[in-house]
């Protein structure tokens, strides 16, 4: 008994060499599962873009010369940039207002922001179809107010894509920014004000620089997620709003697998480049933890 008492905690200290085997055995099943059903399929697909019909770079080179593909990538970047700016402009003041409140107020309001976050993207996109459609809520309301005679065409335009995507991605901007703002030592802005800084000066010289890691993390997350958006542009966008993900699906449907793979490789490459940039700037693990230290 007395031997057992002392043995257990000491054992891990005495034999650290064998311990990692146990940890590897714990991680092993998930790693094996994800390699078999996720990583290998994705890598095999990426290889397809250079290995079919024979070893060639034609599929990847086609990306640069194919007018449609270039145009679609351009639209994708434009959409991602507009949505990122919109979420930042709308979301930063929200995170700021939340951070100024007491926890008793901020926590329930945060739940109201998280709820849409967990609601199905399909449901949220459908809601925007209902709101923006020809006989949708917005058009009926404007007509009832006498502001328009004919229903406006909003659904199936780029504007609808921007609005719906901003709605869906806004929490990704607000949450990391909020959590970084919370960590800022509140005596700093007070000291700045005490030293004669105007409220605007305090915001520009204290709050903004100190909250930048969170805001930048949120913005990068929104940008990366926007690049791969599929459901929303497909349902509320028009034919001229085709984004890369849709083009990939279309190419798969046309059984043009090597070209679909090349497009995927390009989309993945761009995504990883943005992530690498974030990693250099802020550290990726921190971004994925929502900007917290």
């Amino acid at each position: 008994m007395s031997e057992a008492v002392l043995a257990t905690p000491l054992r891990s200290a005495r034999a650290p060499g064998r311990d990692w085997l146990l940890r590897a055995a714990l991680v092993g099943p998930l790693v094996a599962w994800m390699i078999a059903f996720y990583a290998l399929p994705v890598v095999a697909m990426l290889l397809r873009s250079v290995a079919e019909p024979h070893w060639t770079l034609d599929n990847l080179l086609r990306l640069g010369t194919d007018g449609v593909a270039m145009h679609v990538f351009l639209i994708t970047f434009r959409t991602a940039a507009i949505v990122t700016i919109a979420t930042a402009v709308i979301g930063y003041p929200v995170a700021f207002a939340l951070a100024q409140m007491s926890r008793a107020w901020a926590n329930p309001l945060l739940l109201l922001i998280l709820l849409p976050f967990w609601t199905s993207v399909l449901v949220r996109t459908y809601a925007w179809m209902v709101l923006l459609g020809r006989s949708g809520v917005l058009n009926e309301l404007l007509r009832w107010l006498g502001l328009i005679d004919q229903p406006m065409r909003i659904l199936n335009t780029s504007l609808a894509v921007y609005v719906a995507m901003t709605h869906i991605l806004l929490p990704y901007m607000i949450l990391p920014t909020y959590s970084v703002l919370l960590e800022i030592d509140h005596t700093l802005p007070r000291a700045a004000a005490g030293l004669g800084a105007t409220p605007f000066g305090v915001l520009r010289q204290v709050w903004l620089p100190l909250s930048m890691p969170g805001a930048a993390a949120g913005a990068m997350l929104v940008f990366v997620l926007s690049l791969g958006f599929f459901i929303t542009p497909a349902l509320v966008g028009g034919p001229r709003d085709m984004m890369v993900a849709l083009l990939i699906q279309q190419q798969v449907d046309l059984v043009n697998w090597p070209f679909a793979s090349a497009l995927s490789a390009a989309l993945l490459l761009v995504t990883l480049l943005v992530l690498a940039m974030v990693h250099r700037l802020l550290g990726l693990e921190r971004v994925l933890r929502g900007g917290r230290r």
Binding site: V5, W33, Y38, L112, T119, G136, G228, I231, E285
Partner: protein, 267 residues
């Protein structure tokens, strides 16, 4: 000072407006689902429950719902077991190739779903497991497990290991220590992870779009087909039920998280 107060008020008004912007679009599906009209019309000309009846009686909707439910449950169990084990391995000391392993586990959160979906589709169609629940379960587990790893890891990082050492010093073996000390303390995180895993699979469309073929139609896939080709207000009823389900699961996991924090604060 007065200027600061005006800014303060404006910020709160903005906060209120943005929260309305986030919530109202979701709530708009509720009156629509109770409409008596068979087309999109606002405000509804009359009220009825016919779209709920239509949802619960049409085989295309009910079979899709059952498939999504049980695939989601199996995925939740698999992802929770695999993810919790992995979280232990990742947080309890040194591990070779740790960075690589973390990158692999995190990758479904950052790699565009369409890229993963077509990779999985190509591989699974070669293996002949498209159009079946098996394919969906195998793929969805990969997408759901990262959430479990994240939630459980964050509770293990703040876990006080002296409690385990104390249990072992009192003569409990590793097995008894785990089930009587460790697991009860991390249970809220494990259950929250299971909720996230379930919702991830239950809501997943893009992989299902390719893998489910024409024989394993999940609920999101059914909704997608409906939204693309023919919209009748049944989908408003489905959406309302989904919002209610999300709300219930969300509140439950929130209550669990609070309980977890409470347990931690108690120590």
């Amino acid at each position: 000072m007065r200027q600061a107060r005006i800014v303060h008020t404006l910020l709160r008004v903005w906060l209120g407006l943005v929260i309305l912007f986030l919530l109202l679009p979701i709530l708009v599906v509720v009156p629509l689902s109770l409409s008596s009209a068979s087309y999109l019309r606002f405000p509804p000309p009359g009220w009825s429950l016919r779209w709920y009846v239509s949802y619960f009686t049409r085989e295309a909707w009910t079979s899709a719902t059952w498939l999504s439910l049980w695939v989601g449950l199996i995925v939740a169990v698999l992802a929770t077991v695999l993810g919790t084990l992995a979280a232990f391995g990742l947080t309890r000391g040194r591990l070779p190739l740790r960075g690589l392993i973390s990158a692999l586990i995190v990758s479904p959160l950052v790699i565009p779903a369409i890229v993963a979906a077509i990779g999985i589709y190509f591989a699974f169609s070669r293996a002949g497991i498209t159009g079946s629940a098996v394919g969906l379960i195998l793929a969805h587990t990969c997408l759901a497990a990262p959430f479990v790893v994240a939630v459980v890891s964050s509770s293990l990082v703040v876990f006080d290991r002296r409690l385990e050492f104390a249990a072992m010093n009192l003569g409990a073996g590793p097995w008894a220590t785990f089930w009587q000390v460790t697991f009860p303390l991390i249970r809220p995180a494990v259950l929250a992870g299971a909720f996230f895993a379930f919702i991830t699979s239950f809501d997943e469309l893009i992989v299902a779009l390719f893998v489910s073929g024409s024989t394993a139609i999940t609920l999101p896939r059914r909704m997608w087909d409906e939204l693309r080709f023919e919209i009748d207000p049944t989908i408003a009823a489905v959406s309302t039920l989904l919002v209610a389900l999300t709300l219930a699961l969300f509140l439950a996991s929130e209550a669990l998280r609070r309980r977890g924090e409470w347990l931690r604060a108690e120590r």
